[in-house]
Symmetry: D2
Subunit: 371 residues, 4 copies
């Protein structure tokens, strides 16, 4: 028998689909416990549901509460080596108090006070920052300082050195998205500390990565090989905003450009491949014109949304919320989602779709279409 004690505990139950409860069965179960074995027939309902039945729940976090708690954290908790970041993670109420927005996704508010630094480290988890308001912080990625401003999407693929510093006299908060829960589950995570001090303290308007890469359809001849993660470190708001406006304008002129009437949407992509910015994370921006209602969709895989601007109502898995700037909500796997708005609604979204799609696990149902 194994010196590591079995964790298996089996109970004979008198229920449909279960074997007839007898003393012999109870004895068999004792034997299975000793040998660290579990029957399928006691577990099949949980393991093999007819369709995904997420352990996460639809949930909303109000930006004003998040921000207030982040500010209070700024008063009480220093940022530095060891804790590494002043970060508060969304803990999905269905996931037992763990800091996981969904079974695969981490979402958090990060907060940096005036002139503070967050020290340099690197990890194999993929990350990004998205800024709903404020400015003044530069994130320094492999020595390249990248300004963070309202509306910017800033990917930070795994195993790149990075730290942040606030060069302004104002605090700044933003959201971080990572694949921490997924990486933890597949047990693939490495981590290293970098220098305690950020060495590149410049605060240029444009990062070097943008100067090399943010030219539509143009690629430097020095970097022609395939790159699993995007080399572009900042996707600026001015481009996102314009792309969405153009889609709605083209729709108004009578051309196909929007996902559905009144619903413009772009995906942030890796310019070396046209695919997702990182192997495990997808990021998109959706704009609903005034008086728009989306079709109800459900998809395998989970998402986190943040309201960037405007307001409206969202329906997620039977829950319904009025939302406004900064509010965050999760859509668990296979739960229906729809949004509607009178005034117009801008939504940032990230998800685990690249994992789902690369493994051919994707399914989508859209209201009003046949699958």
């Amino acid at each position: 028998m194994s010196p590591i004690e079995s964790a298996v505990k089996l109970e004979v139950v008198d229920a449909p689909g279960q074997p007839h409860p007898t003393p012999e069965l109870a004895e068999l179960y004792r034997g299975l416990e000793v040998e660290s074995l579990v029957p399928l027939w006691t577990e099949i309902g949980d393991l093999m549901p007819g369709a995904p039945d997420s352990s996460a729940v639809a949930h909303l976090w109000r930006w004003k509460h998040l921000l207030a708690l982040a500010e209070r954290t700024g008063d009480l908790v220093p940022v530095g080596r060891g804790g590494e970041r002043r970060v508060l993670a969304l803990a999905n109420p269905g996931l037992g108090g763990r800091p996981f927005a969904t079974p695969t996704l981490w979402a958090a508010i990060q907060y940096l006070k005036p002139f503070e630094d967050a020290p340099v480290h690197r990890h194999t988890q993929h990350a990004f920052r998205f800024v709903v308001e404020g400015e003044g912080v530069w994130t320094v990625v492999n020595g390249d300082p990248v300004a963070m401003r309202r509306g910017d999407f800033l990917p930070q693929a795994g195993w790149n050195w990075h730290g942040h510093h606030n060069v302004s006299s104002e605090p700044m908060a933003w959201i971080d998205g990572l694949d921490i829960p997924f990486a933890r589950h597949v047990e693939s995570t490495f981590f290293e500390f970098g220098p305690d001090e950020i060495e590149q303290r410049e605060s240029p308007e444009r990062s070097r990565s943008e100067r090399l890469w943010a030219h539509p359809g143009l690629r430097p001849l020095t970097q022609l090989g395939p790159a699993a993660a995007t080399p572009l470190l900042a996707y600026r708001w001015e481009h996102t905003d314009r792309a969405l406006d153009e889609q709605l304008a083209l729709e108004a002129e009578g051309y196909t450009a929007t996902l559905e009437p009144g619903h413009a949407a772009i995906r942030y992509v890796n310019p070396t491949s046209g695919g997702d910015v990182m192997r495990t994370l997808r990021a998109e921006f959706h704009r609903l014109a005034p008086d728009t209602r989306t079709a109800t969709r459900r998809e395998v895989g989970s998402s986190v949304f943040q309201v960037f601007d405007g307001g409206g109502t969202v329906d997620v898995g039977g829950r319904r919320w009025d939302v406004e700037r900064g509010d965050l909500f999760v859509v668990p796997s296979w739960q229906p989602f729809a949004a509607e708005t009178a005034e117009g609604l801008d939504l940032f979204r990230f998800s685990d779709a690249p994992i789902i799609e690369r493994l051919d696990l994707d399914r989508v149902e859209v209201e009003g279409t046949t699958p």
Copy 2:
């Protein structure tokens, strides 16, 4: 505030790397609990270890114990609609009594008595069968009856209808491998019941899939498109055995053919791509010649091994076992593995490597090489 109660419980602790414990901090933690938020600094050690620190443990299951319990299960537990299969799953002692061999892999012994059927169903989880001894069962995949015999590897990709029937007067046991724990984590699973009765009750020597596909380097012109999963439903022992023998013979003649001295190995592949048989599961067969010792390796991702023949000693993550025919053991992520044998050792292996590699999470360390 959300009607779903927060599951977050935070405790102020006086420890290195933690903020100074004060009443204000305690009050902040109460606020975080109410809003379902968790700080990074209380979790970072668990979430971001320097290297993968598997929650699974190295563990061995003895075939003779498994088989005895499976036989006893045959006496007490019927197989049929609802429970679906007479299956006992390996429950890794590190994983809390859940029927998971590793965080991503399911491994189980399945048992069918003379003339019994296991009813038809389908699920998105990928599966395979591997036979260490016995014969007499045909697995019927989308209406194609496939014989199962010692040494055969029988992949069964997700969403194909399948049932099993024992046409002989002897019971038969084999192992099943699936990606159930992974699929459950990413919440991608669908399931459907098929007919209660298996309709194709023939017992041909070769399945139709083999007649179409088991010709080396030849592909039917009717099926030229890419296939995510292998269309070949049986990888017969005679081919595996011969391929391994040839590698050792070529080595003896002075050519490069083995992985390392005395260590022949093949991977089962999808003939339409040359890649893994299924999107989430890799399967291999390793043969150690007498008096061989492998280098110690560690890899991101987890594996399950079954001894097919011979005997020897295996070292896994600091544990060491003498093993013989049918014994099963797991190698958790990033734990070192080596094997040695005096008499010769045949090992079947399956792993989650396709998940790890498709997401660019793979790392390997091999004793005596520079990474």
Copy 3:
């Protein structure tokens, strides 16, 4: 003006679609000639036809004539360094006497007398051998001796060293297929001489490449990387024959396995990818059961066929021939092809389809289907 004289000669013509002939136009044409310029309007009909209008013609070469000439060549022409091979190439009558079967493909008969060698060289052109009758020659590829026997397909990807030697007391003839005309057109060809003597004079039943690779669905762990060309150097007749028989047997049992009724077909593929054996050449084998007629097809790209066994009638681009063992014929791009047989007909085929498909130039029309 350039010191290299212009080769342009332009004539003023009075024809529909041409500019009005005037002395000024003639003077302009003189100016274009001096500057090495050619107008589109004099060339557009040739350059931009409504559909491909091959310069090659449908043509048949009789095996008995080829073989007789090859034997006579054996009497008169030695084989050795410089000429390199005793080879007679099919020269399509539409291609001006050049040794090109089609604009992209080379097809030839090669002949080796008892105990003769063809010296070692390598070239970037891709090649293969196919044997319609005879045996006794081993082709040695990078030091691996590969037997050549009736029905075998033997690919030899570019830049591999190779020579041939006849170990028997009988002469042997076979056909060679290469991409010489294509490679010449894109000017990509390199060539090197190897040793004058073949060093590996063994004559094993199976090559080392087969011992490593000819196991269906199994791949050696020593060679897991992608390979642009197949590592398998011999595709044996016994496998091809059996695969084709199985397709016809499955059809007779009521299953989908053949391309069309009575028409079995396999493609030779690279086991590391499931794709074509070489980047520029496709090879297939087609078997028509007795009393079968194929649908008429036309395809972008050209093919060469050799009758392997049986007999029948083929229709190519308006020509019609009765064919028998060994006869070779070409199907130029976009010319219709059909075959019919009373007694049964086995056809080997090779083509430039990988070029056409990798560049997305493929189109197919099949009689009785809508494109």
Copy 4:
């Protein structure tokens, strides 16, 4: 014997490497002629050179001469249905007077007088326009009017409808690049006439394709599938110019951004893949800072260059020319190329590299590096 007469003519010659001239050999050659066969030994030097020996020659066309002839053509030759375009093609002096700049590439000057139209058609050949000077013409691609201005690169992938119209009171000339010679060789070309009149006569600043696609790193959710050719119809000079300036500025700041000192370069790419804009054509822009000399390179495959701005000296395959704005020159396969400049030099380049690379035929030699 075939009713199509053989085109083969063979001569017995008394030369090294050729068989001994005898009456018997002459008689054999007569037999080969009758059967449309050609020996390898008379052709091997031409077919299998040690390295590519291009039939094309290095050649320069002066823009001022091209433009003068194009203007004169404007006086004498109407544009309209049948001739389709007023185009003068560069005819490489090594290619026998055919309108081919290289064996694979077409390069031409096109000329449209004030308010003229070039009628709508489509063809499978891939095309682009590049503008060295002037403006006023809109090319209309599938109904989307695209402005053409100095410095713009305008790809037009095969099988898209297109016509051009000049909305200004000035004539305009530009260059066209196509894969006509390649497509003709592989016999893959289809062509269709469209309406005689261009229906979309708007002249917007930005095409609809740009409004959808010219946002760096952003992709519309309506078009997520893979696209073999770029959906972006205009690559504007302002972006190209800025990208090149940034590379030189980064180099000056001490970062790796240029191909070699003083040599900035971008490739135009398909935003859906990061690869070449079309399956057969590559386009790049190179900027040499003042007082720069490139390394000498040679590559398999051929290129055409046009001087966009500045001046300098180019060396191609042993020829040497001083060049200025608008001049065009070809670099045949495997011929060495270098450029140097005192004042600065901007070069547009296109090539057949995607063909060469997709078929794994690429080789490069760069002066001062080991291959």
